[in-house]
């Protein structure tokens, strides 16, 4: 439709999540036509982010060093671990300012349809973290949907062998939704009302 490279940019932008062909076109023209838009900055950041960002060796959260800022912070309670599916969920929970423990990012949820089983998640790493007896409570904060509930149920069974309290976020969250879209108040209330499993 457009001369070579403009169409290539539109196609490439269209491969990003949530960006359809029309949005991709709109963004491409914005980049082309807005002299004030710092395209080299965005171009540079895209490259750098993949080079520099890695995942925390302890919890699996995104980090620019071996361990993330939360795992390094001595003020965070090491006896309390909140298990989430994704690093985006860490950010969502941090915004509530309700939680002062640490995290464990699974990297997804159990989903037979998508072919994701327990071995594809960072569950072994979680068990290793729990082995030394420091952790007193594990809060299962997987998404309140089918896969998240299945993952929570699986972990709950797995953790009964250990002497650790296991809880699940309260059902203040809308069922079927995505944890990262919850507002601060709802998510904060869900933390307060977490029920023991």
């Amino acid at each position: 439709m457009y001369d070579g490279i403009v169409q290539e940019l539109i196609d490439e932008l269209g491969r990003l999540p949530g960006i359809g062909p029309k949005s991709a076109q709109r963004i491409a023209f914005h980049i082309l036509q807005t002299p004030s838009f710092d395209v080299s900055r965005l171009s540079e950041l895209l490259r750098e982010v993949r080079e520099r960002v890695r995942f925390c060796e302890i919890c699996g959260n995104v980090s620019e060093s071996e361990t993330c800022a939360i795992c390094r912070d001595p003020r965070r309670n090491p006896a309390l671990i909140c298990v989430v599916e994704d690093a985006k969920d860490v950010a969502a929970i941090e915004r509530t300012r309700e939680f002062r423990g640490r995290y464990h990012v699974l990297g997804g949820a159990i989903s037979p349809i998508a072919g994701i089983g327990p071995d594809d998640l960072r569950i072994q790493q979680l068990m290793t973290r729990l082995a030394d007896g420091t952790v007193q409570e594990v809060i299962l904060a997987t998404n309140p949907n089918l896969e998240g509930e299945a993952t929570a149920a699986y972990l709950s069974r797995l953790l009964t062998t250990l002497d650790i309290a296991v809880s699940r976020l309260a059902s203040g969250l809308p069922v079927g939704g995505d944890l990262e879209y919850a507002d601060e108040v709802t998510l904060g209330r869900a933390f307060e009302g977490r029920r023991r499993l």
Copy 2:
């Protein structure tokens, strides 16, 4: 919220049109977590597109050379010019395959609120193109909203001094909408039913 560079990328993506903070976060994590996503290709394209793409010296459409592919095409009718606000509109009209003339991109529409007057648009260039008598008809295909109608009315008055037919796209287009979002059939019909001013 996130360690430095991830947040920087989210902020930068959030400056693109139609991308809110949640979408920006989703895109940033997609880039981070999808090894198959060719981030260097996108990074390269962003840089190249600004370096290589310019605007056709004749019609103002996007182009990788001095003149665009449409202006260079000898099969396109030089007696017929379709005036549009934006290069995105050229692509929308090309998709209808109804129009075999050439284009003139104004680079916007008259809008007293946004401080855009006739002198800010490529109207002088249009008058120069019309001066040699080749063009027999000008189709005004500015958007069917307040600014687009005002621009069409202005151009229509301006062109009465020349011996050129002036038409406006038929009102098959939904009023108040944006030309680039029209579907092919509606836009094609609007071309067929264009009325003389």
